[in-house]
Amino acid sequence: MEGLKVWRLSSSIARPSNLRQLFGLGTSSGLVRCLDNGAAAANATNTRFPSRNRRASTSTSTSTNTSDREAVRAIRLKKVEQLRSKGTEPYGYKWDRSHSAKELQEIYKDLNNGEELDSESHHVSIAGRIVARRAFGKLAFLTLRDDSGTIQLYCEKERLLNDQFEQLKTLVDIGDILGASGSIKRTEKGELSVKVDSFSILTKSLLPLPDKFHGLTDIDKRYRQRYVDMIANPEVADIFRKRAKIMREIRKTVESRGFVEVETPVLQGAAGGAEARPFVTYHNSLGRDLYLRIATELHLKRMLVGGFEKVYEIGRIFRNEGISTRHNPEFTTIEMYEAYSDYQSMMDMAEEIVTQCALEVNGKLTIDYQVGTEIQLQRPWRRETMHNLVKEVTGVDFTELEDDLKVAKDVVLKAVGLGLDSKDKSSIEACPSLGHLLNEVFEIFVEPKLLQPTFVLDYPIEISPLAKPHRRHAGLTERFELFICGRELANAFSELTDPLDQRARLEQQVRQHNKKRAEAVSVTDGTGEQKNIDEDSMYEVTLDDDFLTALEYGMPPASGMGLGIDRLVMLLTDSASIRDVIAFPVLKISQ
């Protein structure tokens, strides 16, 4: 256990000079240091630094310098040969574990300091990676970490066969994976240990574990070599464990309500269901371009036409757009559709899913997301119309505005103009309709303020081409978006079922897009300067005629919701970037 604490301690130290001090400390107390400078052993302090610190610190240097690394590799390759020459295979085939480290910690938590259990029934077998070690003349302590936690290996020379103890001292490095068996002992210092009577090198590692003092502050490397990040920081692996739990909880929640999981195509002839630039690929044998889906919506609705009443899909979505702390070109959503329900019932469903996941993962309904506000997930969540929220924040009452777009823009600019930067101002001026204007004002002024869970209701029809017109308010749709921490988490509507209306709206969308595209083309032709700005609209949008035909066969009244799983995981694991919750995020080509 000592070793682990060192790891934690080390993550907070930023300067190489401290490293030397640590080594000094290590040797002076008679420790044998392995080759990994990063995994130096030292007397543990009980100080625990929050792991997040390393994220805030800036990268001061790159990883272990290359020549060190190569030297380590060469030495370890020699050890591989040495082992083989002795008839020991350094890459073992299997190891039967009787317990995980956590199970042992749990079973023997009441064992007293200094106490040993040597009988057959307390003979255990474990396996994991060595993350720290100290060796004295005839005694060595190794810290072994497995999937569940850590445990100490207590190795006495007399207890081990033949030259096993020598092997342990000379051929085992930090980073190697070992299987060990023995009896149970709690040391005088209170560390639960396996008193080893035999061990086996299961995997010889060739590279040193990352230099804690630099490597882990190199954010880029953390994402590129996620496995190294996970070895060095067990809490990184915990995020992916929690992610798996969240997925399971979502499935459990919707399946207990009768939803059936289905799989719809990723490769499509036309990419619909959202407004986004798709990835394009080419299928050799069909001899045609295919698009990667940008949403699962249009195919799931076909399922409702086909007679399924409750369906969902958890799957990958692809959008050919920039990367940021909130965007990865591929991300995971759950989309769900329920016949004979409307957007009101979907709000209950959203509350249910998010609160169930929070309870499963964190055991409570309050979240401290990053530094700052405490998020309260207790139901019910606030439900407010977009009109009212905009009025509340900006003072502009869109219901009072005339149908004149120009006048409306003037009113808006007069009311909020002072707080606007030029980019926001020009996007307000560019709004082609009242609905767009309302939405723009909402995005600029209201969104960032929606920290506590809020359902924003009744979006303008102009920006909601797949939502059903509101049953009471013309010009609006029965649509909501769920915001938490100023971020959109879910988007849902009472689905548009009228095929004629749907056709008109999609045709309008295609027309608008083509107009934008034509403008972009003319701009690039003209000056070439604004190329980057307008390239966003250079892709093609086609009408999904087959979807419209399906609607003509009749889709029952229904509601549907899409919920971003990556963002939900970010929220529930207190992760600042989407890259923290995606195991292998897309990164720029490394230089």
Binding site: L206, Y227, A237, F279, T332, Y340, A504, G554, P557
Partner: protein, 593 residues
């Protein structure tokens, strides 16, 4: 119909009302214009034929469509929304059946009020005051007996409304349960409202029979299909394969077995998930778009990220990423996800398919044989009630075969069995020229076709296909593949030149591929180098070196065993589907001309 019209508007919207009215009017006008436009294009029927034709069956489909569009326009003009926002159902059709199936013949429970919704797939009338409908939803069906005497409408209204209800319409019904004199469980509507009109005429069964007996008999047969027994798509209402796959919603709507295929598929996946979750595995997601396409031998799809100006491949396997996670300390991981291969399409191959892969640290391929036996036999038992299934392995034209999933499955050693069946003595050093020549001659001798390039791997593969795979109807493990065929598998602990690998074959097709994972980074690099040789010989399906994977191995992958299984192929077996398109909702199709 629209109960919301009368609801008061909130005060904040009062001031909007003028604009709203204007906008509403304009929207309505636009709608009518659109419809007029549509009429021009679709309606080639003279005005004088516009009145409702008594028997919709005999109507021309184009005329049917234009009639429906017209009647919708009329409704909208009169201020009625033909697509209501919400209909509250008090129970599903399945729940209704469960609750009332035990009623006596002729019993009516008039004091109960139930609301149901679904699609009408059959309409019959014995008089203008009595209509029978078959109401379908979520794979179940009940009868609707609409009797003017029970209706909230007066007789005239009733006749008028019901004559306008068409086969294919989605309706909401409030009424009471009962059983007809013929013993059919029914709902007796107080009110019936069309929730979504079906604008098209639905295909009908080729041999339409109006007799109730024949109808219900047919239905019973359709409803009785369960996983593990055979199907006969020839009896389907919609039989045309192209239409079934291109317009899957029609297939699902009309052919009641088809919904069950996809429910079975969902069960296969959730059974697999639960099985691994119970063993402490966690589900992870690895990238579908990657910088190199590794982990398998296949031609990848290529795409391009605009902003990063970066070439990306669609994954052909999640294997290498999953092993990276094991290196990272997640000892038991699995992923169920789409994998993409840019290859031709046939009865068992489509460009995207669903792969189930799991990796287990400290286990070897022997452990995985036990695990997969348990998983598959347990799943087959749970889904079909038995270990034996019937499958049209050679197409619907041939007799079905029986496949027995009772564990343990047969295990045959690849080289040994090949040598004994073909009476060959294959050279031990398979990477040698001699071995290559020997196998080439063997292929010629037995007339086993192997298109160029004649790499040893490909020759062996063809011979195994010919001599071994053909014998694998019941689940059979073919084990211990040569190293040259298995670049990611660990060398066999006691048999030189071979690996600790198995493939599970069922009905002569590969269902699973698994091995003790190669975790020696040096050997892994050598294997990639050998693959490169094959690649240079023209085998463009040989594996490419993934440097990031090799350097990951240098941090140490514990002894690990991993397995990949094709979910689509498993679904094919359990749903008696000889064609993979039967088990994929929206399969890739050639473009229509």
């Amino acid at each position: 119909m629209d109960s919301f019209v009368s609801e008061p508007r909130p005060a904040s919207y009062e001031t909007l009302s003028n604009n709203v009215l204007k906008r509403e009017r304009r929207a309505r006008e636009r709608q009518v214009r659109e419809e007029e436009k549509k009429k021009v294009t679709t309606n080639k029927i003279p005005e004088n034929q516009r009145q409702q034709v008594a028997n919709d069956d005999t109507m021309d489909p184009t005329q049917f469509l234009s009639n429906r569009i017209k009647s919708l326009a009329l409704l909208k003009e009169s201020g009625v929304n033909p697509y209501p926002h919400k209909f509250d159902i008090s129970m599903s059709i399945t729940e209704f059946i469960d609750k009332y199936r035990s009623l006596y013949v002729g019993e009516h429970v008039e004091n109960t009020e139930i609301s149901l919704a679904g699609r009408i797939l059959n309409k019959r009338s014995s008089s203008s005051k009595l209509y029978f409908y078959d109401l379908h939803g979520n794979g179940a069906k009940i009868q609707v007996m609409a009797d003017a005497r029970h209706s909230d409408m007066d007789e005239n209204e009733f006749c008028k409304y019901h004559s306008g209800v068409k086969r294919g319409d989605i309706v909401g019904i409030c009424g009471f349960p009962g059983k007809s004199q013929r013993g059919e469980l029914s709902i007796f509507p107080r009110s019936l409202v069309v929730l979504t009109p079906c604008l098209h005429m639905l295909p009908r069964h080729a041999i339409t029979s109006n007799s109730d007996e024949a109808q219900s008999k047919k239905k019973t047969r359709n409803h009785s299909w369960t996983p593990g027994i055979t199907r006969n798509p020839e009896t389907y209402i919609l039989r045309d394969q192209e239409t079934r796959y291109r317009q899957r919603y029609l297939d699902l709507m009309l052919n009641s077995e088809v919904q069950k295929i996809f429910r079975t598929r969902a069960k296969i996946i959730s059974y697999s998930r639960d099985f691994l979750d119970n063993l402490g595995f966690i589900e992870v997601e690895t990238p579908a778009m990657t910088m190199t396409a590794g982990g398998a031998a296949a031609r990848p799809f290529i795409t391009h990220h605009n902003e990063l100006d970066m070439k990306l491949y669609m994954r052909i396997s999640p294997e290498l990423y999953l092993k990276k996670l094991v290196v990272g300390g997640l000892d038991r991981v699995y992923e169920i996800g789409k994998v993409f291969r840019n290859e031709g399409m046939n009865l068992t191959h489509l460009p995207e398919f669903t792969m189930f892969e799991f990796y287990m640290a400290y286990a070897d391929y022997n452990d995985l044989m036990d695990i997969i036996e348990k998983l598959l036999s347990g799943m087959v038992k749970e889904l079909t009630g038995s270990h034996k299934i019937k499958y049209h392995g050679n197409g619907f034209d041939s007799e079905p075969v029986e496949i027995d999933f009772t564990p343990p499955f047969r295990r045959i050693d690849l080289i040994e069995e090949l040598e004994s069946r073909a009476n060959l003595s294959i050279p031990k050093d398979l990477s040698s020229e001699t071995a290559n020549k020997f196998l080439l001659e063997a292929c010629e001798k037995f007339d086993v076709k192997c298109p160029a390039p004649h790499t040893t791997t490909r020759l062996l593969d063809k011979l195994v296909g010919h001599f071994l795979e053909e014998t694998c109807i019941n689940p059979t493990f073919i084990i211990n593949h040569p190293e040259i065929m298995s670049p990611l598998a660990k060398w066999h602990r006691s048999k030189p030149g071979l690996t600790e690998r198995f493939e599970l074959f069922v009905n002569k097709r590969e269902l699973c591929n698994a091995y003790t994972e190669l975790n020696d980074p040096q050997v892994q690099r050598q294997r990639f180098a050998e693959q490169l040789k094959d690649r240079q010989l023209g085998d463009d399906e040989a594996m490419v070196l993934d440097e990031s994977f090799c350097s990951c191995l240098e941090y140490g992958l514990p002894p690990t065993a991993g397995l990949g299984m094709g979910i689509d192929r498993l679904a094919m077996l359990l749903t008696d589907s000889p064609n993979v398109k039967e088990v994929i909702l929206f399969p890739a199709m050639k473009p229509q001309d």
